[in-house]
């Protein structure tokens, strides 16, 4: 079941001030069975987009389709979507069993069917032992699973996930990334997944949409986003550490655009041997490697170095790179 967003715009009115445009003509499509990750910084409109698809916000313009049906004017409950909220939104006074079955009971599904569906969803997520407990008695990871079970039990046309892993610790987050992705694949349900975490974007999505200021900056497979960023914003947003984007002039090129080099494509060397040289002003020691911050004239470039090969703080160092590793952008920041 596909999900299509066509030219959706949404603004919020503020008292005595100019309206804020949260979405500006967003186009997006998720094919049947795809997991589309919508990523962007805070305020980029990604949650607003998800809420418009869910029917929790009304777009000012545009159209939304779920499973080929225009749902733009339909209420949330009639869109055949299921949502997993950032804070899980579990009903604190209901047991896990009652939380999972809430939507089925609301839709007056036959009681005999409700029980088997709840058991099936709970088994899929490994939470059979928690069915009689209340949310307050569960860990963060267990609550996450209950929220997922509540979504899958209705077998909707699409899942909408709003930063579902943001409240989990790093280790659990890594585990749940794989779990959610595996679950979505096995169910074959189309999913829209909102996150601010680029690692989730690159590892989970079939395609990734990067939002900034309510607009889609780039939409494509993770590898394409990483290898061919459409502009300097995408180039800097995707990749850890972020890509170095500097004026072309720094590389001795007379053109007026920008050059991008990923930290992993910059090697530290002796000052005289480098194409660029500067002073190390900061180091981030990450155990197996060091991220060195090198001040080159007025710019600061980041480079990865092996721990035993790092120049050292305040040391002068040279930086080398291959021309093939340089990304070129015009004066407006668009990829050339």
């Amino acid at each position: 079941m596909s999900v299509t967003v066509r030219a959706v715009s949404k603004s919020y009115n503020r008292r005595k001030r100019e309206p804020v445009a949260a979405l500006r003509g967003v186009d997006l499509d998720a094919r049947d069975g795809e997991l589309i990750v919508v990523v962007g910084p805070s305020g980029s409109g990604k949650t607003t987009l998800l809420r418009c698809v869910a029917g929790l916000e009304d777009p000012d313009e545009g159209r939304i389709e779920v499973a080929g049906r225009d749902v733009t004017d339909l209420s949330s409950g009639d869109r055949d979507v299921a949502m997993v909220f950032q804070e899980y939104a579990l009903y604190p006074h209901l047991s896990v069993k009652e939380n999972i079955g809430f939507g089925l009971r609301a839709r007056k599904v036959d009681a005999s069917e409700v029980g088997s569906k709840i058991t099936g969803a709970a088994a899929l997520l490994g939470i059979e032992d928690t069915l009689d407990r209340r949310p307050v008695e569960l860990s963060g990871g267990e609550r996450q699973r209950v929220a997922l079970a509540r979504a899958i039990v209705r077998a909707p046309s699409a899942f909408l996930l709003d930063e579902p892993l943001s409240n989990l610790d790093a280790e659990l987050r890594a585990y749940m990334r794989a779990e959610i992705r595996g679950l979505q694949r096995s169910l074959g349900t189309t999913a829209l997944y909102v996150t601010h975490d680029q690692i989730e974007a690159l590892t989970m999505g079939d395609r990734v949409a990067i939002l900034r200021g309510g607009r889609v900056e780039q939409f494509g497979p993770p590898a394409e986003i990483y290898d061919s960023p459409a502009n300097t914003f995408v180039a800097r947003f995707i990749g850890t550490p972020p890509m170095n984007v500097v004026p072309m002039a720094l590389l001795g090129d007379g053109s007026s655009g920008f050059a991008g080099i990923r930290p992993e494509d910059l090697q530290t060397t002796a000052p005289a041997a480098g194409r660029l040289s500067g002073r190390v002003i900061h180091e981030d020691a990450l155990g197996h490697e060091v991220i060195v911050h090198v001040a080159v004239t007025e710019e600061v470039l980041l480079a990865r170095a092996r721990r035993d090969a790092a120049p050292g703080l305040h040391a002068e160092t040279g930086l080398t790179f291959a021309d093939s590793d340089v990304y070129r952008f015009d004066a407006d920041g668009k990829a050339l």
Binding site: A54, G55, L56, S75, S76, G77, D78, V81, A82, M83, F85, E87, A89, Y91, P92, H93, L94, F102, G103, R105, A106, R107, R150, R154
Partner: protein, 274 residues
């Protein structure tokens, strides 16, 4: 810092309470000195039909007024919880009757329910019932009066409603729950602990707030239908100058209130409302 409050509490609450407890064992008419009579006042209470009748009236009042006031407070809270234009004025309108002095409020209702020239009579014309001249009409009328003075309970219920996280309602909407389903399965259960506390509080209040309307509007009639226990205490003390007997009734009222509160508390604990 607490000293002024403690002094006030002592002088205005503790001392009169102790005095009342002492007077309950005496015969005192405020002219002669109190005469110790042991448990005579309490044994007289047992055989006093007027006492049991007024106690029954008070319990009837509680049974009618408490649910009515709770429904009104929670109902207004559910209607007025959103942040919208004009909501402040609406909330103020709900709260306003609570700040009107009790006597003025009672006189207002006396006019409203007047069978000859009250607005209700003029609106209903020949179909206008004379509430206050019928026992049950008067009982219900006084209970309904109290249903509009729910300012404090409304504010508490409003806070309880607003404390329910918005995402729960969004989750219910996406799950396809109707507004009625959401009210039954989400809103009311989550507000239940506060509603239990409001009911607890209202039972205590109901034993007191019935006094002014009964005194001003019906005088305890018709045929003693609205002679509630506080009014009977007042009449015994200040009309019949039987302060000792009135004090004994006050002690009984205190014990009755404590018993009712305890029963409610145990029920609320049993059903995990508090």
């Amino acid at each position: 810092m607490a000293l002024p409050y403690a002094i006030g509490l002592g002088l205005l609450v503790a001392l009169p309470m102790l005095a009342a407890m002492a007077l309950a064992f005496t015969e005192f008419n405020s002219i002669q000195a109190p005469r110790f009579t042991g448990l005579d006042n309490f044994s007289r209470l047992v055989g006093d039909d007027a006492f049991w009748r007024s106690l029954g009236n008070s319990l009837i009042y509680i049974l009618i007024a408490v649910p009515l006031r709770l429904v009104a407070a929670v109902g207004f809270a559910l209607l007025l919880h959103r942040r919208e234009r004009g909501i402040g004025a609406a909330r103020a309108a709900v709260y306003l009757p609570s700040v009107v002095p009790d006597v003025a409020y009672a006189l207002l209702w006396l006019w409203l329910l007047n069978p000859l020239y009250g607005p209700l009579a003029l609106a209903l014309g020949s179909y206008s019932p004379d509430f206050l001249s019928e026992p049950w009409g008067a009982r219900v009328g006084i209970a309904v009066m109290g249903a509009f003075q729910v300012g404090e309970a409304f504010v508490i219920a409003l806070a309880a409603r607003r404390m329910i996280p918005g995402p729960l309602y969004e989750a219910a909407a996406v799950d396809g729950a109707s507004p009625w389903f959401t009210l039954r399965r989400v809103t009311l259960p989550l507000m239940a602990p506060i509603m239990a506390l409001l009911a607890l509080r209202d039972v205590i209040l109901s034993l007191q707030v019935s006094f002014v309307p009964a005194l001003v509007i019906t005088g305890g009639g018709p045929r003693y239908a609205t002679t509630y226990l506080p009014l009977y205490v007042y009449q015994s003390a200040f009309r019949y100058f039987r302060f000792g007997y009135a004090s004994a009734m006050t002690i009984s009222l205190f014990v009755l209130t404590a018993v009712v509160i305890y029963v409610q508390y145990r029920l609320a604990r049993r059903y995990r409302l508090i």
